[in-house]
Symmetry: C2
Subunit: 317 residues, 2 copies
């Protein structure tokens, strides 16, 4: 059989898997957390050991790679990682090709996850889709005419940094009211924390209970959980985020009219009301003539790994 | 020689032209204004007479058609016209094919103008572009991988109805702060008119001079002219429109990262300061890593006719 090797450099975790060409199941699969003091060299070293334990005596026919950060997909060069130091301008494709002697294809995680959902998940059978990950940050990847669309400079898909409310709060990117600023887990946690610090008497009992009074421990997940328990502050910020994402999706629908939107990432586990708010707002924002279908991702955290397998498979065809 | 016939049903005007296959010049060209009481039948009748006067004894090998309104490009059926009655569900492709016995291709004016600019105008040599017309309304058309992208239901390109300011004025589409609501000629004229009526003493001397005191005569063009003369009210509304369009373009750049934006339509003749505001705002809205090039359309009002020629040419290849 022809073996395919799929790699996922995920920032906080590393994963690798092998499968037979054409198969929809992994033969073997490994996933490890990156240490907090990881750098590019230690990531590469850990990935090497995962690969060798997976491959044993075998040799892959091609390697697909998902990288959690900006990548020049035409050359397979990593531009940088926002999570791990030392990844500036690393020719990941060249390094792996020299080491393993086979074709390697590298792209960023949002594009690769979109491909994974398209070939093996919630986008199977759809010609066009926009995959959105709503997690620590907010990013997206396109499939148009059954192929990835990366943009002229490889920067397409940045729904996290489209403006939906020019009078909204300021984002790290310098703009106000970006989708990521409103809807990402990290920013929602920060907004809840600041609201509770500034008005300690008014609200947030459930949030305070969940973190035992230590507001430093508020995360996106805590915000979702507190909102589900009826915490007014958490509800306000969670549903403002869902509104911002919904406006973004409706805008994208008017602009590109894809067949499907596929939503993944930790924030999408916030519950039924979050989904309703996203869908309702997107429907109101899209023109009545624009069909709109929004569904949850099917592959969860493994979407990049499946997409990496698709990247490698396509190189062999 | 092989003749190509190009038709443009523009709402307020009709145009037709013929060219030899592969040529970049018209052999003959006709353009007429539609009467104010026009309907689909009278438009078709007038177009027939244009065609017969152009063709004389010749016969085209294919016909390309631009229509100013929503079209199902896969069947060549006009859904409706916002300007002329009687166009609901007219099978324009079938009608013309039955009459002329050759292949006919029909699409909406924004998509066709995008194709025209790509093949013969400001988009020549670019793999991807977004064409935006800023006129009575605001619309757009995509070229991706050198081909039109129409969206799953033929609705892609509606930059006019993406929200850029959710606390902005209400658009006919029901939403607040759409690009069209802020940047189109008709809405800017209306906003200037209302501002001058509500605060007659405060401002608008230049606008009032240009229309001889009759505010009913304020148009988008008058707003541009008054702004150029330093009218404060006209400036405020014109540059708010340019800001809204700039945010829209920056959002689109982050989302799709096309090589070029090509802007046409009457409002783009508003002058250097309007262009500067559009470009500056788009640049601030796009991420620093996203390259952004915004240029004026090259073909003016003839872009749909040139695009119609490209549609017909491609049917023959």
């Amino acid at each position: 059989m022809t073996l395919i090797l799929a790699l996922d450099f995920g920032g906080t975790k590393l994963a690798a898997a092998i499968a037979n060409l054409g198969s929809q199941r992994w033969l073997r699969y490994e996933r490890r957390l990156s240490p907090t003091n990881a750098n590019a060299s230690s990531d590469l070293e850990m990935m090497r050991s995962l690969i060798h334990s997976l491959l044993q005596e075998g040799k892959p026919a091609a390697i697909g790679v998902s990288f959690g950060g900006p990548v020049d997909a035409t050359t397979g060069t990593v531009r940088l990682s926002h999570h791990v130091s030392g990844w500036e301008n690393i020719p990941l494709k060249d390094l792996l090709e020299a080491e393993f002697g086979v074709f390697v294809s590298v792209d960023n995680d949002a594009n690769v996850a979109a491909l994974g959902e398209h070939r093996f998940g919630a986008g199977q059978g759809y010609d066009s889709l926009f995959y959105i990950t709503v997690s620590t940050g907010v990013g997206g990847g396109w499939i148009l005419n059954n192929q990835p669309w990366r943009g002229a400079g490889g920067m397409a898909g940045e729904i996290g940094h489209i403006i939906v409310d020019p009078s909204g709060p300021i984002c790290l990117c310098g703009k106000r009211g970006c989708v990521e600023r409103l809807a990402s887990g990290v920013y929602m946690a920060r907004d809840v924390r600041e609201a509770l610090l500034s008005e300690p008497q008014r609200w947030g009992e459930k949030v305070r209970e969940l973190v035992g009074g230590n507001l430093e421990l508020v995360t996106g997940k805590v915000v979702s959980e507190a909102a589900a328990l009826g915490d007014v502050c958490a509800e306000e910020i969670l549903y403002r985020g869902a509104w911002g994402l919904g406006v973004g999706i409706g805008n994208v629908a008017n602009l590109m009219n894809p067949q499907r939107f596929v939503l993944g990432g930790s924030v999408t586990k916030a519950g039924e009301r979050w989904w309703e708010m996203v869908k309702k707002t997107a429907r109101k924002t899209a023109l009545p003539e624009v069909d709109l279908e929004i569904v949850p991702a099917a592959l969860g955290d493994d979407a990049p790994l499946w997409g990496a397998m698709a990247l490698a498979q396509e190189a062999l065809q």
